[in-house]
Each structure stands twice: as structure tokens, then as C-alpha cells.
Amino acid sequence: MKLIAQNFKGHYREIILGPLFKLLEAILELLVPLVMANIIDVGIRNGDAAYVVKNGVIMLVLAVLGAASAMVCQYFAAVAAGHFGRRLRKQVYHHVLSLSQAQLEEFGAGGLITRLTNDTNQIQNGVNMAIRLGSRIPFLAVGSIVMSFIINWKIGLVFLLSTPFIVLVLYLIMKRTVPRYSEIQQNQDILSRLSGENLEGTRVIRAFSRQQQEQEDFEKAGDAMSNITVRVGKISAALNPITTLIVNLAIVAIVWLGARLAFNAASQPGQIIALVNYMNQTLLALIMAANLTVLFTRALASTKRVAQVLQTQPSIVNGPGATEVTGAPAIAFNQVSFAYHQGGEAVLEDISFTVAQGQTVGIIGGTGSGKTTLAALIARNYDVTSGEVLVNGVSVKQYALHVLRAKIGMVPQKAALFSGSVRRNLTLGAPTATDEEIWQALQTAQGADFVKNLPGGLDAIIEEGGKNLSGGQKQRLTIARALVRRPQILILDDSSSALDYATDAALRRALKEDTQTMTTIMISQRAASIKNADLILVLDDGKLAGMGKHRQLLQTSSVYHEICASQGMAEPEVTP
């Protein structure tokens, strides 16, 4: 909460003055029926037209002053809430970027996005409404009752008796309806899911001729939503009629009591009219208060969700700084084990190997054998569960994070690109790279030709997720993106899977020439891609099932032999 509240800083003036101005308006508003009562009970009774006009002018002045102070408050509220929201979003975004991969996965990308957009909006809206209505509504509700007591305490009792009834009705109806709205939302999500699923699966659905069934499923979900909506509607539609009825009955009581009191000179018609007016005002204020409660509950839930993120301390933070050891191996794993969750199943177990500067390492293994995880540990996207990962002779935990990561060029398995120009994408890790450097990287990545042919070349616009590029084109751009950084360590995670064999071979040739001094880690499922590596690591279910060169491994590692056999590469003679 404190973390979130700090975003109010600098706008305390608006936050305090805003409600005060709104309070002023409410006070002025409450005075109007009183003035009107005087017009009737004094002006009309005495036939004093001048008095009537004078009081009429007073009412006008009250209206002008009230409107002016309300406007001031609205403006203050917009300023304070707007800046608050802007700072909160900035704070949350900054914090999200500092979280580690594991923490990110815990919240889920979707969860973080909602928190950054919907939840912050919800909170901002709550702040806005609190400034605008937080003082006005309770004051109007309580003020009306107080005014009724000032005018005539006996009739005031009617207020005291009827308000609890109104509050009770509001409470009961909202208690029954508000939770249902999230149920309706869930039903809507089901409809979205079913329609999305139907569209994605059109071919399969038609291949199995299951359209009829799909339509019935959709109809069932739609009916369920309609039913619940109608049911909730029946209850919520009662809110206005019932409360209005209570108020009307209260008015009956007020007028009846007023008549009896007037008989004994204890009341006057103008007063009764004013009291009727206050009664109506009470109802309006209470209904608004009920709506406000819902809004605040929602804002509060959002606040909790956002606070949950802000309170999460980044689990991977900068090390104290590192003095690299000259001549040390580029990468070393010392008995490294890793599990995604504490006490969970180990994804990597007891992995040890060293890679000399400039070497090319191939990592091969089946799906789920831990190849990608191993690469992630080098960039310290996760911390090892036990053991140690060293880069240039120093534990990765010793490095400042940006120093460590500046050494690494990563080409992830999923060829993710950002919307924006080709240049913006390629300079992601090297904002100062020149066009020449970019083209050189593209050349190596076998992407120069197709980028040249894009309209605008480096300025060509890539759509979100690279939708306007083919899989192979995307992969080549992600390779170039890593190369632009001129990293010491290049990690290629199965990043030529969408390339045809010829391009793949050309890429490997170019990489070999261009990256003499780079230590390269190549993860692949194709034995052909890695068979010439200086060192091949064979992973099987998180364990090292072989380490060495191709020919040697064919002899010593049965897993490796099996993989090669399945790809027609078991016999060295097959290679022409």
C-alpha cells in the first residue's frame, strides 16, 4: 500500500483541497431547500414579493458558487488521479522489468499485462472518484438527515427510521447481484474461448464433420449466459422500484406527521416541502454511495493485485562485480543441477563441462531434455539450484547483470520480434550500432538479401510478432540481432529449424568465418548441424549422456548413436 501511495507525492494540495471544495458544494446544495422553505413560509405567507425575489437571488448565488467549487474539485481530481496513474504505471513497469524469469512465469505474462493496464486504470479511477465523491456522497446522506432534525426533530425520526431500510435493500440486492457479474464475465470468456477454438480448428472440425456438435456446445454456453443474465436482471431491476417505494412511504409519513404538527402550530407547509426534498436527496445519495462501494471494492482488489507485484523482490540481482581471469575457459559448469521449483523435479542434474574461448559447442537431445534451460543458466535467466556456472573464470552471480548479459548474444528458439522497423529490432541490444554493422550481421545471418528486398530495407515495418515475415525470415533476423551486439558468447537455440538445409549450411559456414573469436553454443535436434562442433554435449532427460566429438560419441554414447541413426547419420561413411 505504501509502495502505491508514494505516487501521490507532489499532489497533496489537490488531494486535500479537492474534497474540501466538493464539501463546500454539498453544503451549499443542502441549504437550497431551506431557502425555499423560507420563501414559502415567510414570503408567500406574508405576501412579501421582495423577500421572495431576494431569496431567489440567494438560491442563484448558491448555485453559481456550488458549480464553481465543483468544477475546481473535478479539475483537481483529474490532475491528482492522472499524475498518480502515470507514476504508478511507470513504477509497475519498471518493477516488472526487474523481475526474474521464474518470477515472471509465476505471475504469467497475461497477469502482468492486466495489472499494468486494467488494474492501474481501476486504481486511478478509484482515486479520482474518491476525491470527487468521497466527501460529497456521505455528507449529502448524513447532511440530509441532520437538516431534517434541524427543521423538525420529530419528523427527523422518519428519516432515521427509513434510511436503514433503504441501506438494507441496497445491501441485499447488491450482495446478490454484484458477485454474479463476474460469473457473467466468466460465461462470456467461455463464449470467447469456444468461438476462438472453433475458428482455429475449422479444418479439424470439418474433417470430422462435427459442426453440429460445436454449434450445440456454443448454444449451450450462450443459453447459460442468457439465463444467468436474466436471473440477475430480475433482482437488480428491483433496486430502483423498491427504494423509490420506501422513500414514497417515508414521504407519506412526513406529510402526515407534518399535518398533525402543523395543526398544533409546530410545523409549516414550506418546511414539509423542504423535508420531502431532503428525503429524495437522501435516496439519491445512498444509491450513489452503493455504486461507489462497488467501485472502491474493485479498486481495492486491483490495488492488492498491483501491490503483490511491487512487493515481489527481484530474485536475481546484480553481483558485487567481477574481475575476470585471463586464460580461463569461456564457460564452465561445475556440477550444476537445476529445478524450476524448489523441491520440484530436476530439469538438469549434475552437469559439468568446460568450453575454451572461441570453441563451438553443440548441444543435442530430445524435446524436454534440458537444452534450453542449460543455455538460460549461462545468461543467468535462472539461478542454479546447486553447483556453479562460470563465465571467463568468474561465477555468473558475481557479475553485474548488464555486464554479464552484454557478453552474450542469444538467439532464442521462438523467433520473437517486436513491432517496429527492422532497424529497431536489430539494434535491440546495441542501440548505437551503425547501419554498416547491421548489414554485416545480416550478411552473416543470411538475411541481407531479403531485407534489401523489403520496402524500405532497414526501415521496413515489422508487424507485431513478425506476422508479415516467414518463419525462416524471422529466424534470420533474430540471428542478426544477436550478432549486432558482437557478443563474446553466441547462443543459438535451435534457431535454424525453419531454414531449409541449403540456407542452414550457408549460415553455419558464414558463422564459422565471422565468429572466429566468439564462443558459440549451438542447440539443435539435427545431428548434421552440430556434428562438426569442437565439443558435443548429449543431453538425455536432464543428464549428460555423452560429451566429446562426433566420431567419438558415435562409439561411446548410445543416445547419440540412436539420434544419429534416426536421422540417417550413424555411419560416418554416409557423409559424402
Partner: protein
């Protein structure tokens, strides 16, 4: 022109509304009766007050009678108001549901070309959000518009009957409120559009960045990204601030005009009352009317925006409903339940876009039980051939036959059920593993499902899932690996036991060792069944009976593996390239 079209849409929506005669009656009757009854209240209050003449002079019978009337009318009005709400809610929900279902059904009857070329997100939003907008618009329209207009008219009449000159004061000042609201709404409309654009831009940015946060991290691009975020954030702030300020003056503004009307009516009424032109009770009734006279105007203007979005939503739903459905099957179309598996294509031409021919003069023939492999670079038309075989798309010219029957003479559903299809893009439903495997044979027993899963080598991982065969697979199979999803798709085919097979890159996301196992399973499945195989791993298709080497929509080479190697053309080059290492 635009109005005319909107009127057409509205008429069509009304076509869905009118069948609910009883509900409509309830809704209208509720409005027509409840409004005047509710508005009679102030008159009764006024008369009761007039019965209080002064100290010692109160006509208690008059007070009591009028209060009784007030209580009665208020009670009846409350009940009728509720009836009105419930009836309109029901109508609006049912109409929206019907429209949504019709649109959904039409999607399922439309040619695939429609579905392939329309963004899916847009269609989902039509089915969900637009249908919702229709429901909301109808609800507001029916429950606010008619009562609103009635309220204005009744109040007007009541005021004119009470006193013409005070009524005129109210009638002259009130339009100010409407003009003011209209001015603000028009201004804010534009500002809100800007705000939602800025919001959309920021959401898109955040979505992209957060889902790819690992990239930002490994590329040390956090600071750059934060700077970009700040820019988006600032823009959103600017748009949001203006929209908030403008929209937040509506309430105090209308309140102000209301207060002016109240003051004017009160003062004027009091002056006239001094002259004896109106009673004190009359003044009180006037004040009550003056207080709420602007309300229906504002409500109606709010409803207009609601109605606009409803009309827009309805229009988008109607667009889908008006999609041309697939050409229905011919009346005398065949409905074979099995086939021998002779497939023949003769001079087939096809283009997704007229003017950009893709498949050109495609001719081949598969004898029953043969295995046909389609090979070639991306975009050469391999997958398109499958679309044509399954009649997802119709050929532009030429003919495709199954067992000597042109496929255009076979019912689509029958033709498709002859094939079993495993695609690269796996598709699974949000349903249990069992239901997914049994998708093609919904009444298969658990034993049959398990047997199919075993044959597809999926049984062992299914057993390890939290609830085994009853584990729910989430959308897109998020809780399964790509390979596991593919195994389930294969099991689905294993259970359906079709006469012919189509495998489109079926094993591309499975590692080669697992692939060997599946290959064995598929081998079993293909035994004696005509099969079409698309693959880019050439090792998997070497034993095919016919390899069709395709390039740019044409078959460039056709033959068996040894034949094609001997030709030393495209195929041989492609085959050799996978072994050309960086020597």
C-alpha cells in the same frame, strides 16, 4: 445514406424483437402505466400540503386521502417499473443470443476461404462484444427511451395544467441543459476516441514487451524499453487527462442548470402564489417536476450513444450472417462410408487470389494403398493440395476423383470422413484427453481410447498427467508440449481408423527419437491405406511410392526416391543439401 442504412439495420433487429409479443406487451404496458403513476406523486403531495391550511385548520381527511393515493400509485408504479425492466432485459438477452448463434452457425457453414481470410480475433469480438452491445443497446433503448419520452411529455402536460407561466420558465431554461450536455458529449466523444487509441497503443506495447521480457533482459534493453514506455505513458496521460476533465464537468454542469431551473421555478411560483395564482402545494409539485425535468433528457442522450454502438454491433453481426454459405451438396451426391483409396487429380488449377495462380495443371494418380509424398520449398503449394483433396477449397478447373467418382459429386462430410488428417498446427479442444482422442468417434469406450493412445505412443505420458485421461487440456494445449499435442492428434486419427490418410508435417515438432516411434505407429496405420504425406525431413518419405517434387505450384519431378536421385534434378539437390556440411 448512412442513416438509411442504419434504419435498415434497426428494422432487421426489430425483426428479431417482434416475435416476443408477450414480453413486448409487458414492457410497453409497464412503461405507459408506470410513468404517469409515478409522476402523479408530486400532485398528491401538493394537494395534501394544501390541505394543511394553517394552525388549527388542517383538513385531515384531505391529507389522508391524498397520502393514501400517493402510497397506492407509488406501489403500483414500482411494481410496473420492475415488470418493464424484467421484460426488456429478457427480450434484449434473447435477441442477442439468437443473433450470436445465427452468426456462429453461419461461420460453420461458410467456405474456409472466408475463415482463412478474416482475422479470427475480429470474428470472436463480433460474437462476444458486438452481441453484448446489441443486448445492452436494446435493454437501454427499450427501458429508457420510451419511458424517457413519456416522462418528458407527461411532466410537460402536468406543468402546463398546474400553471402555464411557470411551466414556460422551466421549458425555456431546460434546453440549456440539453445543449450543454450535447456540447460536452460531442467534445468528449472525440477525446474518448483518442483516449482509447492511446490506451490501445499502450496495451499493445506492454503486451509485446512483457511477453518478450526475456529478450529485453538478455539484450540489456530494459532502459530503452522503459524510455519507450514513458513515451506511451505520457501520451496516454495527455489523452486521458483531457477526456477526464471534460467528461467530469457534465455532472456539476447539469446540476448547476438544474439548480437554476429550481431557483427560477421556486421564485416565480412563489411570486404567482402571492397573487393567488397557484397554491403552495402547487408550487411544491412544480419544484418536484423542475428538479427531475432535465433527467430524462440526459438519459435519452446517453441512450443514443448506447444505441449507436448497438446498431454498429448488429451491423457487424449481420455481415457475418450474410456470408455466402458453402455451395450445398448436390441432392444426388454420394455418401460413401468407405473407399478403396484410388485418388486421381487431372489438370487441376487453383488460385487463392484470382490473377495469382498457385496450383497449375496438377496431375497425378494414386492407386489404392499407395503412399504419395509432397516435397518442395515453403509456399510451393503442398498444403494447398491438401485443402483441395479435403474440399476445404474448390478447384478452379480440372477434376479430383476418389474411386473414380469426382469429389464434387460426394457429400463433403462423407468425403472428409474418408480421410484422417494430422496437421502441423495441432488443434485440441478445451476438454479432457479422452474427449479429445474420441473427437472423431464421440461414443468410443475408454478401452478403445486407451488402445488408440497406446498405438500413438501417447499412453505413457497421459498416464503421468494429473488426472490421466480425464485431465482437461487448456486452450491451445498450454499444459502439454508440442510433441505431446501432436501425439494426441495422432491418437485421434488412430481411433477414427479412416480409409485414407493425410499427414502434413505431422512429426515436425517431435524430436527424432520419438518421431521414429510415431513413424512406426503411422506405418501400421498407413498399411494398405492410401496416404498423402507432406514433410521437409526427407528421411521420412524415402519409402514413398510416389514423390511429387513441387515448385511454385507445379509438379517439377515425379517418381520414387531412387528414380528422382538418378534424375539428379531438384530433388537430388535438396536431398544432398542436408548432408553438405561446412567442408
Amino acid at each position: 445514406m448512412k442513416n438509411k442504412r442504419n434504419a435498415g439495420v434497426l428494422r432487421r433487429v426489430m425483426g428479431y424483437v417482434t416475435p416476443y409479443k408477450k414480453l413486448l406487451f409487458g414492457s410497453f404496458a409497464g412503461a405507459v402505466l408506470s410513468v404517469p403513476l409515478a409522476l402523479a406523486g408530486p400532485v398528491f403531495i401538493g394537494r395534501a400540503i394544501d390541505a394543511i391550511v394553517g394552525t388549527g385548520n388542517v383538513n385531515f381527511t384531505g391529507v389522508w386521502q391524498n397520502l393514501l393515493l400517493l402510497g397506492l400509485t407509488a406501489g403500483i408504479a414500482a411494481f410496473l417499473h420492475w415488470v418493464l425492466q424484467v421484460c426488456t432485459r429478457k427480450i434484449s438477452v434473447l435477441v442477442a443470443q439468437e443473433m450470436r448463434q445465427q452468426a456462429f452457425n453461419r461461420i460453420n457453414a461458410a467456405p474456409l476461404k472466408r475463415i482463412d481470410t478474416t482475422p479470427h480475433g475480429d470474428l470472436v469480438s463480433r460474437l462476444v462484444n458486438d452481441a453484448d452491445a446489441v443486448a445492452e443497446g436494446l435493454l437501454q433503448g427499450l427501458s429508457q427511451l420510451i419511458p424517457g419520452v413519456l416522462t418528458i411529455l407527461t411532466t410537460l402536460v402536468m406543468m402546463l395544467v398546474l400553471d402555464v407561466s411557470i411551466a414556460l420558465v422551466v421549458i425555456i431554461i431546460t434546453p440549456l441543459s440539453i445543449l450543454f450536455a450535447r456540447f460536452v458529449v460531442r467534445r468528449t466523444g472525440r477525446l474518448f476516441t483518442k483516449q482509447s487509441q492511446a490506451q490501445g497503443a499502450m496495451s499493445a506495447f506492454v503486451g509485446e514487451m512483457v511477453t518478450n521480457q526475456n529478450l529485453l533482459r538478455t539484450f540489456g534493453a530494459e532502459a530503452v524499453s522503459e524510455a519507450e514506455f514513458d513515451e506511451n505513458n505520457q501520451q496516454y496521460f495527455n489523452a486521458n487527462f483531457k477526456a477526464t476533465v471534460y467528461s467530469s464537468i457534465i455532472n456539476p454542469g447539469t446540476r448547476f442548470i438544474n439548480a437554476v431551473v429550481y431557483a427560477a421555478a421556486g421564485t416565480f411560483g412563489a411570486v404567482i402564489a402571492i397573487g393567488g395564482g397557484i397554491t403552495v402545494g402547487g408550487v411544491s409539485a412544480f419544484l418536484a417536476y423542475a428538479n427531475q425535468y432535465t433527467k430524462p433528457f440526459n438519459e435519452i442522450s446517453a441512450v443514443t450513444t448506447q444505441l449507436q454502438s448497438a446498431v454498429a454491433g448488429a451491423k457487424r453481426l449481420f455481415e457475418v450472417m450474410d456470408w455466402e454459405p458453402e455451395q450445398p451438396d448436390a441432392k444426388n451426391a454420394l455418401a460413401p462410408t468407405s473407399c478403396k483409396g484410388a485418388v486421381e487429380a487431372k489438370a487441376v488449377n487453383f488460385a487463392y487470389n484470382p490473377g495469382r495462380p498457385l496450383i497449375q495443371n496438377f496431375t497425378t494418380a494414386a492407386k489404392p494403398g499407395q503412399r504419395i509424398a509432397l516435397v518442395g520449398p515453403t509456399g510451393c503449394g503442398k498444403t494447398t493440395i491438401i485443402n483441395l483433396l479435403m474440399r476445404f477449397y474448390e478447384v478452379d478447373s480440372g477434376i479430383i476423383k476418389v474411386d473414380d467418382n469426382p469429389i464434387t459429386g460426394i457429400q463433403r462430410s462423407a468425403l472428409r470422413s474418408l480421410y484422417g488428417m494430422v496437421l502441423q498446427e495441432t488443434w485440441l479442444k478445451w476438454a479432457t484427453v479422452h474427449e479429445n482422442i474420441a473427437y472423431g468417434r464421440p461414443n468410443a469406450t475408454r478401452e478403445q481410447v486407451v488402445e488408440a493412445a497406446k498405438a500413438a505412443y501417447a499412453h505413457s505420458f497421459i498416464k503421468r498427467l494429473p488426472k490421466g485421461y480425464n485431465t482437461i487440456i487448456e486452450t491451445g494445449g498450454g499444459n502439454l508440449s508440442a510433441g505431446q499435442k501432436q501425439l494426441l492428434c495422432i491418437a485421434r486419427i488412430m481411433l477414427a481408423k479412416p480409409d485414407m490418410l493425410i499427414l502434413d508435417e505431422a512429426t515436425s515438432s517431435i524430436d527424432t527419437r520419438t518421431e521414429m516411434l510415431i513413424q512406426k505407429a503411422l506405418e501400421k496405420l498407413m498399411q494398405g491405406h492410401t496416404s498423402f504425406i507432406v514433410a521437409h525431413r526427407l528421411s521420412t518419405i524415402q519409402h514413398a511410392d510416389i514423390i511429387l517434387m513441387m515448385n511454385a505450384g507445379k509438379i517439377v519431378e515425379q517418381g520414387t526416391h531412387p528414380q528422382l536421385l538418378a534424375q539428379n534434378g531438384y530433388y537430388a539437390r535438396l536431398y544432398n543439401s542436408q548432408f553438405s556440411i561446412e567442408e
